[in-house]
Amino acid sequence: MIFVKIIFLLMFYFVTSNNLIAQNILGDIANKDINITASFNGAKIVIYGVVDPKIYNYTNIYVSVVGPNIEAKLRKKVNRYGVWFLDNKYININFIPSYYAISSNNKIYNMSSSLFKSMEFGWSNINIVGLENKKDSEQNYYKKRLKEIYTEKQLYVSKLNELNVIENTLFRAEFNLPAITPIGHYEVNMYLVNKNNSKLLSSWNDKIFVSKEGFSADLYKYSQNNSLLYGILAAIGAVLFGFFASEIYRKI
C-alpha cells in the first residue's frame, strides 16, 4: 500500500540522512495514469506527501495540480430584446491551464506576494497568455470571469487551509477531476516554505498522465481521422439495424 511505502520511505530517509536542507518534502501520487474509458465519470487525484517533522512547525505546505495548457475562446453573452446571445467578438486565450487545483495547510493572506508569483500558485498567479495587451484592471476582470467558469465546470479546485498534516509529517491532498477533463500531462507540485521569512525551502514535482484509451478513444480517433468512412459505416450500420429489427419483429 502506498501509505506504508511512504512511511518506510520517510523512515529510511530521515534516519539515514542528516542533511535536512537538500530535500525536506517528498511525495507520491496514488494513480499516475488516469484513463478516460467508456465508463469514465471523473477521477480522484490522490497525492501523498511527507515533510521533515523537525522543521514542520516553522513551515507552510502548498500543493498544486496544473493541467495541460490549452487554447480557448472567451465570449460574452449579450442580451438583445430579452434574448441571450453569444457575442460575435471574442477574446482569444492562447494559453491557459485546462485544470487547476491547489491546497495548503494554512490560510493565505497575500496571494500577490512575490513568493506565490514565483511558484505560480493561486488563480491570480497562473500563466494565462492572451490578455497581455489589456489594461491591468481588465486583466483582473477577465481572470475573475475565467475563475468563475472554471469553478462552475469543476476545473478549478481550491482547498486552501484544508491540508491535514498528521503527526507533523504525513499529509494527503485529494482533488476531483471532472469527466470533461482534457487529456495530457498534469503537473503536480509541492512546495515547502519557511513561515517566518517566506523563503522556499524545498519543492517536489511529478506528473500525472490523463489519456483516452479503449473502444471509445479509438472511435473518437477514427471519427476524426477517417471521418468519411466513419460516416458511411454509421449510415450503413443504422440501415442494417433498422432492417434486422423489422425482420425480427415480423417473425415474432
Partner: protein
C-alpha cells in the same frame, strides 16, 4: 450507470438514454412520426452539444425509418418517381444544411439558431396537434365531400410530369422545392421532417394519403443517410454510441407503441403529446430568456 460518449465528450446515464429512446420510439410508433423533433431538443436539454445532438439524431432516425420504409415497400405504397423528384431537392438541401451548420459552428451561434428553430416548430406542431385533438375530443367530425385534390397555381408551373402512382400531372418544381426545404431542416435540426412533409404532400401536392407515408419515408431514409455521412465528414459530430443507445430504446419503444396504439383513445394521447411538446418548447424559450449564471462562456480549442 454512466456512459462516456466519445464525440459529445461527456458522461450520460445510459438508462436515461435508453428510456428516452423508448419513450420517443413509443410515441413515434403510436403516431407514425419519426420523433426527431422531440428527441433533439431533449438531448440538448441533457447537455449534449447541439451539433452532436442534431447529427446523431439523423443517424437514429435513419435506423428508425428503415423498418417503416420496408413495411410500406412491401405493400407497394410508394410513389418512386415522386420520391426521386423530392430527393433531388432533399439531398441537395441536406448537403447545404450541413454546410450551414458548419458555418454556424464556426461563428458559435449554432445553439441559439437550433433552439430558435425548434421553438417555432414545436409550438407549431404542438399547437396544431392540441387544436386538432381538442376539436375531435369535443365533437365527432362530420364527413365532408372532398375532391380528389385541389388544383393550385403551383401545379401549373413548367416541367410537368405524370406521377402515375399518385394520380397527378403536376410540375416537378413544387416537390423539388419542398424536398429542398425539408433537406435543409433535416440537416440543421436533426429531424426526418415527416411532420412537415406529410401535410405538405397532402395539402400542397395533393397526393393520396395512402401513398404519402411510404413516399415520405423514402425521402427520410435517403436524406438522413446522406446527412449522417455529411455530418461525419464535414463536422465530425455523429456520436454512434449515442445513436446506438437511442436506437436500442427506440426499436422496442416503437413496437410497443404500435401494439398499444389500437387499445387507447388516440385523441387523448394526442392531447397529452401536444402538451408535452409545448412544455419542451417553453423550456427552450426559458433557456433563451433566463439570465445566465455566467455572463461569459469559454470554449476550449483542440
Amino acid at each position: 450507470m454512466d456512459f462516456y460518449l466519445p464525440i459529445a465528450e461527456l458522461s450520460v446515464n445510459i438508462l436515461v438514454l435508453i428510456i428516452l429512446g423508448l419513450v420517443v420510439g413509443f410515441l413515434s410508433g403510436m403516431f407514425g412520426v419519426g420523433g426527431g423533433f422531440l428527441m433533439t431538443p431533449l438531448l440538448m436539454l441533457l447537455g449534449i452539444p447541439p451539433a452532436v445532438a442534431v447529427a446523431s439524431e439523423a443517424n437514429h432516425i435513419l435506423a428508425a425509418s428503415v423498418s417503416g420504409f420496408l413495411a410500406h415497400f412491401r405493400k407497394k405504397n410508394i410513389d418512386f418517381l415522386m420520391g426521386f423528384v423530392l430527393l433531388t431537392g432533399g439531398v441537395s438541401g441536406s448537403i447545404i444544411g450541413v454546410f450551414l451548420l458548419k458555418y454556424l459552428l464556426s461563428i458559435g451561434h449554432e445553439k441559439f439558431f437550433i433552439s430558435f428553430a425548434y421553438i417555432f416548430i414545436l409550438i407549431f406542431v404542438g399547437g396544431s396537434m392540441l387544436r386538432e385533438s381538442l376539436t375531435s375530443l369535443g365533437n365527432i367530425s362530420i364527413g365532408k365531400y372532398k375532391k380528389l385534390h385541389e388544383h393550385i397555381w403551383l401545379h401549373g408551373l413548367p416541367f410537368k410530369v405524370k406521377f402515375r402512382k399518385s394520380h397527378l400531372y403536376i410540375s416537378i418544381l413544387p416537390p423539388i422545392i419542398i424536398g429542398f426545404f425539408i433537406g435543409i431542416l433535416s440537416s440543421l435540426m436533426g429531424v426526418g421532417g415527416g411532420f412537415i412533409l406529410v401535410p405538405a404532400m397532402i395539402y400542397i401536392l395533393g397526393m393520396p394519403t395512402q401513398i404519402v407515408i411510404g413516399t415520405s419515408l423514402l425521402q427520410i431514409v435517403f436524406v438522413t443517410f446522406i446527412a449522417t455521412i455529411m455530418h461525419s465528414y464535414i463536422n465530425q459530430t455523429v456520436d454512434i454510441i449515442l445513436s446506438s443507445l437511442l436506437i436500442v430504446g427506440a426499436v422496442f419503444g416503437a413496437q410497443i407503441g404500435s401494439r398499444i396504439m389500437g387499445r387507447l383513445k388516440a385523441e387523448q394521447i394526442r392531447f397529452l403529446l401536444s402538451i408535452l411538446i409545448i412544455i419542451v418548447a417553453l423550456i427552450l424559450v426559458l433557456e433563451l430568456f433566463i439570465t445566465p449564471e455566467n455572463i461569459y462562456s469559454l470554449e476550449f480549442i483542440k
